[in-house]
Symmetry: C2
Subunit: 243 residues, 2 copies
DNA sequence: CGGCTTTTTGACTGGTGTCAACCGCCGTGG
DNA sequence: CCACGGCGGTTGACACCAGTCAAAAAGCCG
């Protein structure tokens, strides 16, 4: 549906730091090894030694963990512009999986290259990527609030508010509409509910006119109303321009 | 009960990186402005501009958010050796609160000093503090799994396994026992349950002989059994020596 | 037109929340 | 020294949100 105007990975970081023209060029140069990943396909698995950092350029990817009883918990949605595992470069083994949720285009960057530019370098990119990591942490915390203390309907509404903000930040929202190629089961694994209950909640939200969801496109007619319902405060996304 | 042998902030980082004697001295020098914080007292509040980074040296602190309906969600337990907000130094406003849960001793470090040593510096401390941040993120993800997909009893058991590991890493566990000055209400706000239900679950765990909890001391007689029950895998703590 | 996955529906179960009372501990103050 | 008050822990009765199971309907794709 919507098309990104610029490179989403750069668009996103612009929200967190003032990038110099030079660091923009450095970034562009990093994002050359781009691969296509099919839905359901893993990018990296728990236990593996991370050799690359991944950046989503198109589509949705997810972090997730499997449970011994066959269950699954989704830990993050990785939208265009999101860096998947800056972090893990430092660690010896992945403690979770990353997979494509919808068809994705993902950039692969070698960890040594990243480490040189950031951890050991301390340039402007270091600040920008720190910022992105901190935002990820903020999102994780907000999800925890949702799962722990919000009823199902508000939790899901809150997630939709968050996605609207995040996708708008990389130019993927148009008139409150954005691509949403996500099954109700994946939604359920995200919010910690059963697929059946997610179905019922979605019907309620549609019935109340808070959202529309058809043909894999999510529409938020009245964002203010959805935010009020979900008790949404975007402060945790730290998207105000200038870091 | 138990006494830390060394400085917990240094003990902890030793798990994540090889510290040079010099960086150890640098750390010691940073941790001089130590203040006492009473239970319930806030160290920093949502919305505030962070001017200091905080390190817990004694006692438990928490990250938390309040909800409009009066509820509270605890987002992290900060034990001795934990850095509270490395991160936020980069951000303009706190998106959550930090408070003492039990009587605490907390070191205050000015953000400019920290930024010089890490973000802009790129020394060995940068790696160590990155590592600590990544571990925090790993914990957050595991908590999400617990809230989303684990039944109440296993979730609480899992938390006890985690605490045992984390506190052992800074020398605060002795014979499977450690100080646990935490009300059931705080536990409830941590795991997203009601205090009443936490009470019932604790009785069940005690009845099954998995834990003992009396006089504000938690005892795990048989750690292997508790881990098996909770389906606990410590990989997300990344505590293996050498980063 | 078949098989597949995803969504939808209904009936029923069950885990957890809520409310309210009671108890035991402990610090405070008369 | 004892009475009081408050907080945290414990219990029981009951309500309700969300899970489970199962089957039908609707899309999707070859």
């Amino acid at each position: 549906m919507t098309e990104t105007r610029g490179n989403p990975a750069i668009l996103k970081l612009e929200h967190g730091a003032r990038l110099t023209p030079e660091s923009r060029r450095t970034l562009e140069a990093l994002l050359t090894d781009v691969r296509t990943v099919a839905p359901g396909e893993d990018v990296i698995r728990e236990g593996e030694r991370p050799e690359n950092v991944h950046v989503v350029l198109e589509g949705f990817a997810i972090r997730y963990k499997n449970l011994p009883d066959g269950g699954r918990q989704i830990l993050a949605w990785l939208a265009p512009g999101d860096w998947c595992d800056m972090h893990i470069a430092l660690l010896r083994a992945m403690d979770h999986n990353i997979a494509a949720l919808s068809p994705c285009r993902v950039a692969f960057i070698s960890r040594t290259e990243i480490e040189r530019l950031t951890i050991d370098g301390g340039g402007p990119l270091n600040r920008a990527l720190w910022w992105a990591t901190l935002v990820d942490e903020g999102i994780l915390r907000e999800w925890l609030v949702g799962m722990g203390r919000r009823p199902a309907d508000k939790q899901i509404a809150h997630l939709f508010c968050e996605l609207t903000c995040r996708l708008r930040a990389v130019g993927l929202v148009e008139d409150g509409r954005f691509d949403f190629p996500v099954s109700q089961e994946a939604l359920a694994d995200t919010v910690g509910l059963s697929a059946v209950h997610v179905n019922r909640v979605l019907q309620q939200l549609r019935g109340d006119g808070l959202i529309r969801l058809e043909d894999k496109v999510l529409t938020v007619h009245d964002e203010a109303r959805l935010r009020a319902f979900a008790d949404f405060n975007p402060n945790y996304l730290h998207l105000d321009k200038r870091g």
